[in-house]
Symmetry: C2
Subunit: 300 residues, 2 copies
Amino acid sequence: MKLTDIKTILVAGAGTMGQQTAILAAISGYRVVMYDISDEILAKGVEGIRKNGDRMVRVGVCTSDACSLALEQITTTSDIKAAAVDADLVMESIPEDPELKGKFFGAINDHCKPETIFTTNTSSLVPSMFADRSGRPDKLCALHFHDVTLSKIVDVMPHPGTSSQTMDLVKAFAESMGQIPIVLARENNGYVFNNMLMSFIGSALSLAAKGVTSIQEIDRSWMGVMHTSVGPFGIMDSIGLDTCWKVTSYWANKRNDTQAKANAAFLKGYLDKNMYGIKTGQGFYTYPDPIFSRPDFMTM
Amino acid sequence: MKLTDIKTILVAGAGTMGQQTAILAAISGYRVVMYDISDEILAKGVEGIRKNGDRMVRVGVCTSDACSLALEQITTTSDIKAAAVDADLVMESIPEDPELKGKFFGAINDHCKPETIFTTNTSSLVPSMFADRSGRPDKLCALHFHDVTLSKIVDVMPHPGTSSQTMDLVKAFAESMGQIPIVLARENNGYVFNNMLMSFIGSALSLAAKGVTSIQEIDRSWMGVMHTSVGPFGIMDSIGLDTCWKVTSYWANKRNDTQAKANAAFLKGYLDKNMYGIKTGQGFYTYPDPIFSRPDFMTM
């Protein structure tokens, strides 16, 4: 299999990341089949794809005309056999459960061509957890996206059984969609950026949860030394406090880390008040026009 | 003691931070007495003060004329009694040894006025380690600077015995020098920014030391998602790999942290080859014109 042989992409999972990767692949000239378990979910997925298409036009990834053409390249199905049969490459963004992912890859393996490449967009798992169940571990690796309208950085990560041909091909595929692949030499939970982000955010949360100083002072401190327009709490508001809580509590429990558990509880306090960040208009800051964006924030 | 009563500042320690805080205080209109243990060290300190003055003119903190006037406001002495007798506020930047700091504060306590305020610029220690030995724990707190030509962020941190009057006065003093004080509610090792920086840098070092991917890919990943002009390894080059190693190995040993020890060893490998970062022209990158500053770095 060469890059030029890749024509049809199976996007599995019609949620946030499935919607983003579907429109990105379609804009890049690929035929896209989006699969999920029900037509209701798929209908919502298509709606989300349109919204993501609009966002990509707004940020200048493509023109409005190119986006309309791309949308025509996307079909949907809840029939797993129909989804698999023409796929040259699979981008999987189904729920974060190794059992579910193993079952999914095992099921499509029976219907896909032998040369079809499998990729997973998992954030919190690693491909070796379900590589054997895919039936083609050498053709499976991670292709992990951050928000495609905010960044072009993607992680390309093998598990111990991934072939170098698969890695090369997936890297070339990412580049063909205008992405910047960060190639990992070996499997590492949390990839590259997410590891750094979580350490950084964990440290900021610890300072606040321990009552060392206020959220505003912590952001001010980072922004003032690093000369950035946003600090860790502003970043968490953009990620979503639910996502931050999910990742923080997952690792806190896995590592039985007392401070991380306190940090998760600190975040939970906001969720209990329906403060999820930018998406609900209120998180650590109030949106639009959060105070950290005001010119006098550093000295107020 | 009120802010307007503060006229004369004793800067203790003629090293990097002493030089920076001396010129900053002088530019801000204070008389400055710089103290260190020998006239040789003080002569080098004065040379460093002049260089820091030039840097401050270059970055626009003050005019060349104001800098020249400020330099006239700085005197030096290796006589601890002469250094202490007129001081209204002390900024201490002597070596990072709690024993040494306790001894120093105890010694000047005998010669200073009863109302004189003591501040420590320690990075790795906390004031409670030597507060009692100062003889005036209520008048002692931390006033911690980052590089004054790169950032105006300063930490103002109490120990459990610091009075609120001392905190208010030191905050006002920092503001009188055009700084942005980050006020901590309680003592915390590593303050605010340094805690976040060390977590972030520690995570980046772990990725490299474990061989997950290259230094360039790690920086690219951070720069590409956060949209910054420098990543963690570029930042370490500007801090100095010796300082990064010192802090990393200090915490690695204190916490008996295996991964942090591996990270310290990774940094040591560069020091052994005389690669200290920007200051030696070679660290993780080659200076001037490091590749991460080139327009094509993200896709090279």
